[in-house]
Amino acid sequence: MRTPALFLLLVLLVLGALALAVAVGSVHIPPAELWQILRGQQPGLHADILFELRLPRALAAFAVGGMLALAGAQMQVLLGNPLADPYILGISGGAAVGALLAMLSGAALLGVNLAALLGALASMLLVFALAQGRGAWNPTRLLLTGVVVAAGWGALISFLLVTAPQHNLPGMLFWLMGDLSHARHWLPGLAILLLGLLLAQAQARSLNLLARGELQAAALGVAVAPLRLQLYLSTSLLTAGAVSIAGSIGFVGLIVPHLLRLLVGSDHRLLLPSSVLAGGALLTLADTLARTLFAPQQLPVGVLTAMIGVPVFLYLLQRGQGR
């Protein structure tokens, strides 16, 4: 596909997803009224629903989806593995333990978010310190350390779930599957996303080379060690931001970059921004479906991302075989 056409399509997809997210819901608001509210001409209950509930949630969904896709694309290069996802090094596990402990102690929403953030950062420092060790820092060691730490978090999560009081369980499970119904912090989300994209885009050409192996990258003038450090910090912070806003939403970070590699190829100068747009659009759509499909019952959005992502991905994989 030609690049400008693809970006136009993605921008339209994002706008469409956001429009759908503010237009659809349990309270019906006619399109004409919607337009007036958006232009600030009609205050009232519907305006409150729009500005206090739907729009912040839609923007948070976009930010989280974009962060996860951007983190995933960079994590795949950092580990030299197209199957890596943002959670592979245990960031989400650490965040989950933090969030669940906060829920058990009866903390309010902000407390849970902060605990998740602290857990994610703690896990990031732990993996970093352990992977550093005495010797050189290489992807295999990083991957093994991260996977083992993630397994440790997994055991702790299971322990917390088994010992938790009954009434806490639904909230904990929703968090673990990823849930945007309490997501309000779209502004810090979008800020982290923009900053992350800017930093990543500055290194995009170097990422193209690192994807071909550390020796090849170094031979063509990439300072590999500082680049890896930047990638590790950037993917960690993006992931930490995403999970503290919305819990551990699966699949977006793995599938969106992968899908975009099939569509735009492996030039990260195109891949990174297009992943952000596609990830944001996918999560916004999935969240709209999650809260409307079985309304008034809300589904955790993580369930929907997988339900949409899997068939789309399999279709593209089949189609891509001819290339």
Partner: protein, 253 residues
Amino acid sequence: MSRLAALELGLSVGTRQLCDGLCLTLAAGECWGILGPNGSGKTTLLHTLAGLRPAQQGELWLDAIPLKQLKRQQIARQLGLLLQDNHDPFPATVRETALSGRHPYLQRWQGETAADHHLAEAALRQMELEGLAERMIQTLSGGERRRLAIATLLTQDPAILLLDEPLNHLDLRHQQLLLLQITQWRRRQKAVAMVLHEPNHALHYCNRVLLLYGDGRWEAGESERLLTPQRLSELYQCSILESRSGTRRWFHF
């Protein structure tokens, strides 16, 4: 003029000393052949010369500047390395890959210019890959991938070329093409060093050779003088014979 110089270089892997006190100067218009048995440190030496791994002992100088003081990007503008193999876990096209040779010359936010594209296309033509420019690298054969790696090096166009077994995977036609290219590089005053497994290529295409015995011993000198059946038999620990026709000589089992 010496482009790349190694002084009293010591290399070891684990507890094994591969070479000791190695002195080597790579001058413009020269071609060095590096010969030695498996595991004697040929690739390790090449990577060390390229600054990809630290030298345990000794110093490296690039155009009279210590290699350590140079940034990777500055080194890559002067020195190119053909790796023994390339692995490509991510999809990319042949054209994108060849174009990556321009990376050292571009600023952070700068894109490739038309001139860069021309260089990449010329390099692909030279390696007879122009028909494959839009193909994904995963669909290439081993020899085609090798030619693509060489085309990337041609696009990079450095003054110093370090080649690790450059003839690997190439059919006879493309071996000839590459050896011709090496002669051209020398004529254009580039400095070449290559790891080889075929002493005849070293004898006929390199003016100097470095023999690595793998136990710390090494010998360097003019290929014409240094390459004898006795030395090669000692180097490879097997019997190697020499034949002559006129002034031309070659080695065989």
